[in-house]
């Protein structure tokens, strides 16, 4: 008989209107955990489902043996993937915690253990991503994110991931809130890895309208919060506009001297240009302040480290 893992693992599963998918998915997770771990728990986060997802979960949970503890967190109304998963993570007590963001499995159950084994090799976070072409919008988002963030971590569309307790504690102490987990994990600065798998094709996202709307909002929020995109854009624009203002000042003076414009034109243009120049100057300062404020409010730790090595005595 195979020796079961002594580590306690938790699995957090996001459930939103998934009554058709959740039974088989939960069944698969239960089977993997029962088969490989002495003790484990599963937390299903029910994010305002309007169908019978919870009923299905309850029936499926009845079949698990005593080594898996199963619970459901019912969110009060729709919160969206990120908050809901955070709620589940806060409840999880495992040494390692699996996050299943989607209940549509396009992976082989064996992948779960592959990811776990990889984590044991010294990675605080291991992602499992399908080895296929990403959707255009996802690709665009990750490209922009990568371009404008100071974190050098390639992000993918991921099906699930495993986190160590160290990682969870780190993210909890780094940020006051976790609006976008992936970015926080990426910026946590601990060792990360991604395991690619070939999708079995059963997947299919099955997002409803509410979830799609939520995801686009999340993309915008994340770009603003975690990357320099907003700041750089604003700074570039103000610089440009300031240049235009300066040009207008010079231009109006030249016209005044050379072409004798209509009376009052020069004063108006001069006044407008100087006023705009001042305005844009003030805006730059305000944007800088805003960025500092976001950092102060949002980030708790001024820096993060991966490890400390003592080289000599």
């Amino acid at each position: 008989m195979e020796n079961k893992e002594k580590n306690f693992v938790s699995a957090v599963i996001y459930v939103h209107n998934a009554e058709h998918r959740i039974a088989s998915f939960l069944g698969m997770v239960i089977a993997v955990l029962e088969g490989h771990f002495e003790h484990s728990e599963i937390i299903c986060v029910n994010d305002g489902s309007e169908d019978d997802s919870v009923g299905v979960i309850k029936r499926e949970a009845g079949r698990a043996d005593a080594s898996v503890s199963i619970s459901v967190v019912n969110m009060s109304g729709f919160h969206g993937l990120e908050s809901a998963m955070n709620a589940g993570m806060d409840l999880a007590i495992g040494d390692f915690v699996f996050e299943f963001d989607r209940t549509a499995p396009d992976f082989d159950p064996e992948e779960i253990m592959r990811v776990y084994d990889r984590a044991l090799q010294g990675y605080d976070i291991v992602n499992a991503a399908p080895d296929k072409k990403e959707k255009f919008t996802s690709r665009l988002f990750y490209r922009v994110f990568d371009l404008f963030s100071d974190v050098s971590c390639k992000m993918h569309t991921e099906s699930f991931r495993i986190l160590s307790r160290r990682m969870i504690n780190r993210t909890a102490s780094m940020n006051r809130t976790v609006p976008y987990r992936k970015a926080v994990y990426a910026s946590a600065g601990l060792k990360a890895d991604t395991v690619m798998y070939s999708p079995t094709g059963r997947g299919g996202e099955g997002l409803d309208r509410r979830e799609r709307g939520y995801r686009s909002m999340l993309a915008v929020d994340s770009l603003i919060l975690f990357t320099q995109l907003g700041y750089r854009f604003a700074v570039a624009m103000t610089m440009l506009m300031m240049l235009v203002s300066v040009f207008m000042i010079v231009y109006s003076v030249v016209i005044f001297a050379a072409a004798h414009p209509v009376e009052g034109w020069t004063t108006t243009i001069l006044f407008l240009s100087v006023a705009f120049l001042g305005m844009f100057g003030i805006l730059t300062v305000i944007i800088k302040y805003l960025q500092l404020l976001v950092n102060l409010v949002f980030r708790r730790m001024p820096y993060s480290f991966e490890s400390v090595e003592k080289l000599t005595k």
Binding site: F8, E38, E41, A66, S69, L91, I93, G94, D95
Partner: protein, 372 residues
């Protein structure tokens, strides 16, 4: 047929306390106990807290009542009280129904001492938003048992009958007649039902309205505490969290958690559990056996409770599994929302008198004085 002044059902603390009070008044008292010795269930198998109310931040009535009896219990039963540790109450940063500020205000309102400490002295960063040094002790049920037995032995009119199996309870004119399975019959004009988890079984026999309770088969884990943990008791509030604290004067710590301590729950009137058929013993919904002595007791939930505690406590607070205790705990359905634990005393009849008492706390035993 034997005639008594009072018959008390259940040799837990409430039963033996009543027997002593009445015995000292020279009344003839019989205590009926189905186990072979007293204090084998709830009185022994619990967290052994002498409550001062901290546990009920959403029920100030429960808090104030237990605070009122706290001093008296500690004075009367000083010999079994463990005071030699610092009791820390903390409020979890997530999933708690009360936060640190609310807990502080609650303590102030209830008039119980609480000194704010820095949570990260004891807990991992970000896990708790408040930590408080409180005054709460634990009692040693075995020392308490010896004390009561000694007292009762000195009273020649008080008798405890062990291994008692009641078949029927009937009112006959001005007395209740209790018939036993072995054919004996005992009569008294006053019956006190202090059977705790068995309370509805007794009410069922007597034909009275039952308490609305649910039953939980609970596990208390006894641990060897590491050096750092020894001098502390921790309780993380107010939701699905845990307690680890000295278990009386045994030198062990008890570990319990809200989610993992109850192994099974039963919502029927009398305690019916799926394990009852398997034990081979005489355990049934109408005659609850002793789970702690049963071969079919559940497997320990230690790995789950331990992981929960480790998630919160700083790494220097270590503990190791010793053994588990199991018992069935009745919980009044009316107290689900405010998490209160009122002591309920119901008088079902007068002359002959039938009284039932249900309480989840040790130090409110004095409530019985009114009815005895």
């Amino acid at each position: 047929m034997e005639q008594y002044d009072k018959i008390i059902i259940g040799a837990g603390l409430y039963g033996l306390y009543s027997a002593c009070v009445c015995g000292q008044r020279r009344e003839k008292v019989l205590v009926l106990e189905c186990d072979p010795t007293p204090f084998r269930r709830a009185t022994y198998i619990n967290q052994a807290r002498v409550h001062q109310g901290y546990h009920y931040p959403r029920s100030i009535s429960t808090a104030m009542k237990s605070a009122g009896y706290f001093e008296r219990f500690n004075r009367d039963y000083d010999f079994c009280i463990n005071r030699e540790f610092d009791k820390i109450y903390a409020t979890s940063a997530r999933y708690s129904w009360s936060d640190g500020e609310q807990f502080r205000r609650f303590c102030k309102a209830a008039g119980i001492p609480c000194e704010e400490l820095h949570p990260e002295r004891f807990f991992k960063p970000g896990m708790c938003d408040g930590a408080f040094l409180t005054r709460e002790y634990t009692y040693d049920a075995m020392l308490l048992k010896d004390y009561f037995l000694e007292k009762i032995n000195a009273l020649k009119d008080v008798k405890i009958l062990y291994g008692a199996a009641i078949r029927s309870i009937e009112a006959r004119n001005d007395v209740y007649a209790i018939c036993m399975e072995d054919g004996k019959e005992y009569r008294a004009g006053f019956i006190l039902n202090a059977a705790y988890a068995g309370i509805n079984q007794i009410l069922d026999l007597a034909g009275f309205e039952k308490f609305r309770i649910k039953y939980e088969l609970c596990e208390i884990i006894l641990c060897d505490a590491g050096e750092k943990l020894k001098q502390y008791g921790f309780t993380v509030m107010d939701g699905p969290f845990f307690s680890i604290m000295p278990f009386g004067k045994t030198g062990l710590h008890s570990l319990t958690s809200v989610t993992f301590t109850p192994h099974m729950t039963c919502y029927q009137e009398t305690p019916a559990f799926p394990c009852q058929g398997k034990g081979g013993g005489a355990c049934s919904a109408f005659r609850l056996g002793n789970c702690n002595d049963c071969s079919e007791r559940p497997e320990t939930a230690f790995p789950y409770m331990a992981n929960l505690a480790v998630k919160y406590l700083r790494d220097e607070f270590t503990f190791a599994y010793r053994r588990s205790l199991f018992s069935v705990k009745p919980i009044l359905m009316s107290s689900e929302i405010d998490d209160s634990r009122p002591t309920v005393i119901r008088t079902y009849s007068k002359d002959p008198t039938f009284i039932a008492v249900l309480s989840g706390k040790i130090n409110t035993v004095y409530d019985l004085d009114e009815v005895l």
